[in-house]
Symmetry: C3
Subunit: 342 residues, 3 copies
């Protein structure tokens, strides 16, 4: 396989068409932090498998359209070439492209909306990257979530678009007693669907394909991804979350990303880091519960925001960081001359 990899990379270096395909496939792989075109190809296969299984092939088509539009806009805007080659401008628009037809009706106007949204996702990727580079933390799928939230919220006001599988907007209520039927099979399918829901499809077969796709590139990524969906699903069951949502894998996908991101991507794997990543993964589940409540009145899904919030909060801490001391003066403030400010 190393040989075929080598041949592919050579070919991508020399041929612009192959390079464009390579960039797009790496973009898909980067959804799970993998700079690997084969991983991307397998994930794309999983998306199509899951969307065809659900009789919704337009979700897979939307993903591809979003990917091509997003990558093309990055090329037009002359984004940083190294980042582009690694697929850094693909993973957010591919998700925007999968999410819009998942949650909105399959009308012609929706496709216009999707294309504009995917183009904007690339601009937002550049914007959020500039913001977060200040602290050296990654934008990750933040541009996808931000852009898609606006598109989905906006659909409620625009009568030419139809609301699909989201909402209806409702005030939160205390959860009814949970009734998830725990069997080996129900656990396994829920957990595998948790993996596939990262790419907006709920299919245990797609979950398996994605775990294989990850193992091709990194065994740590595959193992931590599996651990993430296990933690997320078990914790949701233990704290009594909605059984249907658990069955659909909706409590697994954000923890999958947090576990991989903290355990093996943004931090250097070690025992302390794995414990820290475990705490972050557990917190992801609570953030998700909180966001479901917060977004309930608006009738839109959390997307990967629970992962993003947990990941940002757990990658921001620095060693030997001195917080601005609570009892000290703010430096050089309005109304306070420097000499008086000691």
């Amino acid at each position: 396989m190393a040989d075929s990899n080598h041949a592919w990379n050579d070919s991508a270096d020399r041929n612009a068409a192959v390079r464009f395909i390579d960039i797009n496939l790496r973009g898909v792989g980067q959804i799970f932090f993998q700079n690997n075109p084969l991983t991307g190809l397998l994930i794309l296969l999983a998306v199509f498998w899951g969307s065809i299984e659900a009789d919704a092939v337009y979700v897979g088509i939307g993903a591809v359209v979003g990917l091509l539009v997003g990558t093309s806009v990055a090329l037009i805007l002359r984004a940083d070439n190294d980042s582009l080659r690694q697929g850094m401008f693909g993973f957010s628009p591919v998700l925007t492209g999968a999410a819009v037809p998942t949650f909105l009706g399959n009308d012609p106007v929706m496709w216009v909306y999707l294309v504009i949204g995917a183009a904007v996702t690339t601009v937002v990727t550049l914007a959020v990257s500039n913001l977060l580079n200040t602290w050296g933390i990654p934008a990750s799928t933040g541009p996808f979530v931000l852009t898609t939230w606006f598109l989905l919220l906006g659909a409620y006001q625009l009568s030419r678009l139809t609301i699909g599988s989201m909402g209806p907007p409702a005030l939160p209520e205390a959860a009814a007693a949970a009734d998830f039927d725990v069997t080996a099979e129900s656990l396994a399918t829920s957990m595998l669907k948790g993996v596939s829901q990262v790419v907006l499809v709920g299919s245990w077969a797609s979950g398996i394909i994605i775990l294989i796709a990850l193992a091709v590139s990194s065994r740590w990524a595959a193992g931590l991804g599996a651990a993430g969906t296990i933690v997320g699903t078990l914790l949701a069951i233990g704290f009594g979350a909605d059984a249907t949502a658990i069955s659909e894998g909706l409590w697994g996908f954000s923890p999958v990303l947090t576990a991989i991101a903290l355990g093996a991507v943004f931090l250097h794997t070690s025992w302390p880091v794995l414990l820290y990543a475990a705490l972050g993964t557990v917190f992801t589940v609570f953030v998700q519960a909180g966001l479901i409540t917060a977004l309930g009145p608006l009738g839109v899904p959390t997307l990967t925001a629970p992962y993003l919030i947990a990941m940002w909060l757990f990658t921001l801490p620095k060693p030997d960081l001195a917080p601005t001391a609570h009892h000290k003066r703010v430096k050089h403030s309005v109304l306070t001359s420097d000499s008086a400010n000691q």
Copy 2:
């Protein structure tokens, strides 16, 4: 006109009272990014025309009170003199002063609220400017929006204030089929009201006065402003937004600001920039749709937030920016010694 400009500027340099008037008029002009006292005077005229036409002259008076309070607080806090002279501390409080009596009832307590709100708007201008200077992007009307949102939201809890023309708070619902009656007249009045709604009045005559005010200072600003309201209104019609809101110009005002800001103010006008500004202007309409949904349960208006969000997202991208790579380690993180972090 150049001569009379010259005479006015000389007079403002020498005479403190003229200078104070000059600063305030430039502050009004800066709502549309124009550092020009005549433009400001004409816009103020448009505000009074529109508010008198609507039998709500207190909106015009509120704008003037807000302006004077805001500018005075900036003087008291010894804000940067150059910025002050250019009217940079006027445009947010003038809008706070127009918005509070637009959305709340004309009670005596409301005027106390307005004055405190305008004073705070200047503090918030200094605060948000410090925040955003980190990335070299402008605070623009952000301080107006932030302060006014708190004031309007707060009014629901304070029984001595009455809720005027906003709300009632309601959960979002899928939009009913749109029925905007497209005629040359309905289009023209909606689009002109779109221009005037930037200053919280809905009057096609005010819209014409403002376009003239802009042309006095910059033909690009006038042309792009007109283009913005055309794009916003047509897109709202095309996607089926609420017909009454379109007629009132409520889908035009944010795109007006985005089009001017991106097309001729914050970026250097060129064909690629105009295309980029067009994408940003289109996105402004979708952000507005999204914010209407998001704020619906809270019963407060979007104000110019759709413009701000689009403008910030479209001015943040830098050329050859390398996003923090998705598969790299965060530098110098807690739990990770530097030597292990390579």
Copy 3:
């Protein structure tokens, strides 16, 4: 007392167990910005007094558990030693620990939630400190508010947790006419409870103990704290806020913190600063009104967020700050080469 202070400090330097107690007590004192173990001890006494009086001793126990967990996680993560010794990692988790059993039911699962929440609060303290150090402003109780909001929001989705004294989620309505019965006694108890509500208990006796605790460390802190609750309570009465909430001290606690923070902690006390702090304290009341409206549909309390927002907005302004001018180009933007960008 100076002698006993000295003996205590010596003992803390030499003995790890005493040092751990000292760090934790200082952490409690830092809720009110006081790096003083005796102040912390008295505040802890006030928390227990208030929680026992309300037949809810588990709130006091929760506070202690949160404190010990939060401080321990800071030690494990090897947080900056000087900050740690000053109690900078104690004041947020102690509040998380008090808030969770205040608003959720006293079930066994709640304690698991509380412990994880307190541990995460320390991580979030490091994260938010890194964010805000960029502008030299303090994280203060931000990590408590952020973490606790997620926990409280999340409880609505997790049926093993029960909702206690918060909510129910409801859309905002215009406030009914207020009927706070103004007597010397009703004012005094409301204002004293305003002080005690900072630590989540509503007891006038606890309020007195806390004012004494503050006076032990700083007379300015005690005086400004008293001024804060007076301003907050009177303004709430004057603008017609809900009478029951006023009686419970819920309109006093955020202004207490703003008054101390702006008047004597983060700015250098002077007449102009006191006026500036007064404006900030008044604005805190309006922000609180706004946040009550904004959070109403979600069924969670504002916690100390009104203080945080006002404090951040009033500590960010710098003297002679030039806002990014409204009519100038953004530097080095995408699509704009530097030479064209003058």
